[in-house]
Amino acid sequence: MKTFWRNLLRNRGAALGLVVLAVVLVVAIAGPMLFPNSPWRMVQRPFLPPMTVPGFLLGTDALGRDVTAGLIHGARVSLIVGLVSTLAALAIGVPIGAMAGYFGGRADDALMRFTEFFQTIPSFALAIVLVAILQPSIYSIVGAIAIVSWPPVARLVRGEVLSLRAQEYVQAAIVTGHGHGWIIWREILPNTLSPVIVLASLMVATAILLESSLSFLGLGDPNLMSWGYMVGAGRTVMRQAWWITVFPGFAILLTVLALNLIGEGLNDALNPRLARER
C-alpha cells in the first residue's frame, strides 16, 4: 500500500490531479454550507461582471443568480453523477464480463454479441433518447449514462477472467468442489481489481462529460444546478456576458482533466508492467 502511494505520487500529473480533485471534493462537500442559499435564487442585478461587487467574485447570470454559488452547487451534482453512474455501469459490466469469461462457449458468444451491440449504438444519441423518454431527472441521467458506458467494463473483465480461469489455483478451487459463484467472487474477481479501478477512474471523467453535455442540451435535472446547465443557459447571452459560460466550462475541464491524470497515474502504479511508455 505504501509503495502504491509512493508510485502514484511520484507521477507529477497524478499528484496534480489528486490536488485538483481534492479541492473539487472539498468544495462539493463544504461549499453548500458556505453558500446555503439556493443557487437558483436571484440575489443581485443581472449581468454583474466578475469582481465588481464584493461577495460576487464571479458575477451574476442573466437572471441575477450568483455564478459562484452555481459553480459550488454544481460540483456536487457532477461528482455524484460521475461516481454513481460509474458504479452502476460496473454493476452491469462486471457480472456480464465475468460470466462470459468464466463459462466460455455459447454463454460467452451470446454475452459478447450483446455487449458488441451496445457498443455499436451511438452512445450519446442513445443517452439523449433515454433521458428524453424517461423525463430528465438525476435518476434517468445516471441510468442512461450507466447503460451507455458498461460495455468496455464487460470486455475488460472478460479478458481478465479468461486468463485467470486457466490458472492452477482456480483449477484447484474447481476440483475442491467450490460453487461457480464462490470461485468467481472470491478467487477470480479480486484479481481483476486493479485494471477495473483504472478503467473506473477514467469512466468517472467520461460520465461527468456526458452529464454536462446532457444538461447543456436542456436534459439536466430541472431541480439541480449543474455546470452543463450553466453553460447552456449562458450561451445565448455570451456576447454580453462571457463569464457565465467561461467559468462553469473551465470547472468541467479541470475536474475531468484531474480524473484523467489520476487514471493514468493509477495505471502506472497498479500495472507497472503496462506502464505508459516514456
Partner: protein, 322 residues
C-alpha cells in the same frame, strides 16, 4: 468476398436489433402514442384518436405492431412528425448532407492532424515538443465539446471577427458557384475544427503510444541493420504498423462522432441532423427523435463496415484476396 457478405449480414442483424429496441423505446415514451399524436396535431376528440389508432395500427396486438414498424422502416417510412407537419424521413434526409459534410471534414482533420502530431511526438519522445503535444492532447481530451465550440465562437467570431459564428452559408447573399463554395467553407471551418479537436487528441495519443511500442520490435531492428534510412523506417515500417490500432479506434469512435455532431451543430446552428435532434428534443417530438436515432445508428454501422475494410487494406499481415 465472403468476408464482406458476412459483415453485411451481421450489419443487417444489428440494424434490425436497433429497430426493435427503437420500437420499444417509442412505446415507452410518455403518454398513449395516439393521444400524443392527436395532441401534437392540435386536436383530440375521440373519433380522431380512434382514427389515428387504426391508421398507425395501434389497435393491433404488439407483435403485429412491431412487424408493421419493421416493415415501415424497411421502406424508409420513419413515421410522421406532427410538430413539423412532415414525414420524419424527409426531414432527416434533407438535413443529412450537411451532417455528412461536417462529420467527414472533422474526421479527416482529426485523423490527419492527430497522426501527424502523434508521430511527431513519438519520434522526439522526451523532448519539449513531445511534452507540449502530450499536454495539449490531454487538455483537449478533457474539454467538453460544447464549451470548446462556444469558446471558439467567442475568440474567433466575436472578438477577432475572422470567421462566421453560425449557419451553413450567408443567408440571402445569393452567391453561386465558387463564391458559394468558399462561403460554405468559411462557415465550415469553426464547427469542423472544434468537432475534430477531441478526436485529434485521441488519435495523437494513440499514434504516439502505438509508434513507441512498434519501434521496439525486432523487425524495426532488422530494418535498421539493413541500413535503411531513418525516415523510411519510421514511415514504411513503424507508422504503417502503428496505424492499425488507430484505424480500429477510428471505427469505434464513429458513434462518438455522431454524438459530437449533435453538440457542435447545436452551438453553430449547423443545419444537420444533430441540430434537428436538438429541435426534436426541445419540442419533445419523439417520432422525430427516434427516427434520427435509427438513421444515425445506421450511419455508424456503415462507417464501421468501411473502417473494417480499410483495416484489411492497410494491415500488411492480411493478404487481400483477389
Amino acid at each position: 468476398m465472403s468476408f464482406i457478405v458476412q459483415r453485411l449480414v451481421k450489419m443487417v442483424v444489428v440494424l434490425l436489433a436497433i429497430v426493435v429496441l427503437n420500437f420499444f423505446l417509442i412505446r415507452a415514451a410518455p403518454g398513449d402514442p395516439a393521444l400524443v399524436m392527436a395532441g401534437e396535431a392540435g386536436a383530440s376528440d375521440e373519433i380522431f384518436v380512434a382514427q389515428l389508432r387504426e391508421r398507425f395500427g395501434l389497435d393491433q396486438p404488439l407483435p403485429v405492431q412491431l412487424a408493421l414498424y419493421v416493415k415501415g422502416i424497411a421502406t424508409l417510412d420513419l413515421g410522421f412528425s406532427f410538430r413539423q407537419q412532415m414525414p420524419v424521413a424527409d426531414l432527416i434526409f434533407s438535413r443529412l448532407p450537411a451532417t455528412l459534410l461536417l462529420t467527414l471534414s472533422a474526421f479527416a482533420i482529426s485523423l490527419a492532424l492527430g497522426v501527424l502530431f502523434g508521430s511527431l511526438a513519438a519520434r522526439r519522445a522526451g523532448s519539449w515538443s513531445d511534452t507540449l503535444i502530450t499536454v495539449v492532447a490531454l487538455v483537449f481530451y478533457a474539454t467538453p465539446l460544447f464549451w470548446v465550440a462556444l469558446m471558439a465562437v467567442l475568440v474567433f467570431s466575436v472578438t477577432m471577427g475572422w470567421l462566421p459564428a453560425f449557419g451553413y452559408e450567408t443567408v440571402g447573399a445569393g452567391l453561386t458557384g465558387v463564391a458559394r463554395l468558399s462561403d460554405i467553407a468559411q462557415h465550415l471551418v469553426l464547427p469542423a475544427t472544434t468537432l475534430g479537436l477531441f478526436f485529434m487528441a485521441t488519435y495523437a495519443r494513440m499514434t504516439r503510444a502505438s509508434m513507441l511500442q512498434v519501434s521496439r520490435l525486432d523487425f524495426v531492428k532488422t530494418a535498421r541493420a539493413k541500413g535503411l534510412g531513418e525516415g523510411v523506417i519510421q514511415r514504411r515500417h513503424v507508422l504503417r504498423n502503428a496505424l492499425l490500432p488507430v484505424v480500429t479506434l477510428a471505427g469505434l469512435q464513429a458513434g462518438t462522432l455522431v454524438g459530437g455532431a449533435v453538440l457542435t451543430e447545436t452551438v453553430f446552428a449547423w443545419p444537420g441532423i444533430g441540430r434537428l435532434m436538438y429541435e426534436a428534443l426541445l419540442q419533445r417530438d419523439y417520432n422525430l427523435l427516434l427516427g434520427i436515432f435509427v438513421v444515425s445508428s445506421a450511419m455508424v454501422l456503415i462507417f464501421n463496415l468501411v473502417t473494417d475494410l480499410i483495416y484489411r487494406l492497410v494491415d500488411p499481415r492480411i493478404e487481400i484476396k483477389a
